[in-house]
Amino acid sequence: MPAAELWLILVGCVACVTATRAAARLIRRRSVMVDQWMPEALKAHTLAYSERIFRSGDDRQVVAHVDRAYRGRNGLITLVELKTRRADRVHPSDVIELSAQRVALAGETGEPVARIGWVVVESAARRTAHRVTLMSPQAIWDLALRHDALLAGTESPDYPATRGICTSCAHRGRCSLRA
């Protein structure tokens, strides 16, 4: 067998071994990530809903896509929302989203939904669960009314609380007061 072919086989073998080890490492890291994020409070719960859309049955509908919802032994549903971020941080918008999900799920199914929810932040190949207290349904209805008023132009929109949001905004050029 010529030396060139031997070298080719050797390089192929090394490449295969390296690829297998890399894949195994990736799978191991992923499985660790999957297991570690689950908070103790949810470990005894069972998964009730995953990736489902709910609509509250009231006159003013709230439509929400729920990432996951877990059911406790007492039948109480706890919501979990996944976010991918560079920084391991929870934003006020996450709390609003989970609170709206609570209104939609409780409205459609009639099941009791906990006032406590979890935001799972995936950053740098690891997940961390953050416990958040959700807003009341009335606060969500008020927010929906304000949303309508903003779109109708009857109320003027506020600027964000931090200017960091403006730096990555595509509408910064038109939003001249702060830019």
């Binding site: 992923r30 999957v34 069972t46 998964l47 009730a48 995953s50 990736e51 609509r55 049955g57 006159d59 003013r60 509908q61 709230v62 439509v63 929400a64 896509h65 990432d67 996951r68 059911r71 007492n74 039948g75 996944l82 976010k83 991918t84 934003h91 006020p92 918008s93 996450d94 709390v95 609003i96 989203e97 709206a100 999900q101 939609a104 199914t109 009639g110 099941e111 009791p112 995936e122 969500i140 927010l143 929906a144 304000r146 949303h147 309508d148 903003l150 779109l151 929109p157 506020d158 600027y159 964000p160 949001i165 403006c166 990555s168 905004c169 595509a170 509408h171 038109r174 939003c175």
Partner: protein, 153 residues
């Protein structure tokens, strides 16, 4: 008269639209009039988010499969419409009440034994299926009635 018409109209707002109000209200108004204009960095982040959600969803599916492997309905009907109806019945009619939860607990205790019996003697499966069918019919009726009352209310 006009007020009544407004009340009957179902106006929908999404949870993500409401959550955007917590980011920037001006952005909500701009995107309503101009449409979404993600920057290249935001597009990349969006793709990363979609990939992570797909992964999270598939993990959820396998978790759900692990959790529901020994239920009688799944055993005899597979993941068909009958099983879906019985799951909805369990979640919407039994779970909200204490008595209903006791029924579910009793069922969970009984189900693995029945499933094992059906695995040992497959001939019993048609009999179990025939026994469950009236329950499926009853659950369907209740769910349809509930949907109708929701729609009219």
């Amino acid at each position: 008269m006009r007020r009544r018409r407004v009340r009957k109209t179902k106006r929908a707002v999404s949870a993500s639209a409401l959550s955007q109000m917590g980011v920037c209200e001006r952005l909500v108004v701009f995107e309503h009039s101009e449409g979404k204009r993600p920057t290249p960095e935001q597009r990349v982040a969006l793709q990363r988010g979609l990939r992570a959600h797909r992964q999270f969803a598939s993990e959820g599916e396998s978790e759900a499969a692990r959790g529901g492997r020994c239920f009688i309905a799944t055993h005899v009907f597979g993941d068909g419409p009958e099983t879906q109806v019985l799951r909805l019945f369990r979640d919407r009619h039994l779970r909200p009440t204490r008595a209903g939860r006791s029924v579910i607990l009793a069922y969970y205790r009984l189900a693995p034994t029945v499933c094992r019996t059906m695995e040992q003697w497959p001939a019993t499966r048609p009999a179990v299926r025939a026994a469950i069918r009236p329950l499926v019919w009853f659950a369907t009726r209740l769910l349809v009635d509930r949907e109708a009352s929701h729609a009219s209310g």
